[in-house]
Amino acid sequence: ASTVNLQSFIGCAVREFRFTARKPGCRALQITTDACWGRCETWEKPVLDPPFVESHQRVCTYNETQLVTVRLPDCAEGVDPGYTYPAALRCDCGLCATTTTECVTSV
């Protein structure tokens, strides 16, 4: 397998991601899945007419996903132990669709 230098990587790719699945009434569960990470081309350019700046903005996001359901441990009676999350099959530079995505600024 080839190694990728993350410091200089350009583009948008599937990358391993760890998170804690938690919901009320169950014990949390550590999950390792495929998410999307990268650097997409973005730019801003001054133009002669209002609003005087033209911009091109894209983010590295899911292009094709597969839903995965896991069983959270030690759930209280009457609580559904199922926890469903999307795993990335393919990633691409695209717009951030607020219908399906919480779009935030990274720090």
């Binding site: 991601f17 973005t42 350019k45 001054p46 899911y62 717009l95 669709a97 399906t100 990274s106």
Partner: protein, 107 residues
Amino acid sequence: LDVLRPGCHLYPFNVTIRSDRRGTCQGSRTVFACVGYCESITFPSRYSVLLASNFTRSITSASRCCTIRQVAKVKVRMECPRDYHYDDIEILTAQACRCDMCRKSRY
């Protein structure tokens, strides 16, 4: 010019301004845009985000985009044939760039 590198950098381009369609007077100069590759990551949303969005926003995209941090006005000198005069025109150029909030990448 090497633009295929991470980060957000000044990128020169040429602007030509014409006084009329025929280009009786015209001037051009090099100004700067900001072009680059800033980091973004998309991953399964936390349970609080799922709840707040009624389970529609199953993924969260944390991103930054290449933006103009500082602009300056510069003059374009208009060259005219004899007996014509056209005042210098002020246009904007980027002076500094940074990876910052993606204000226009969502829909």
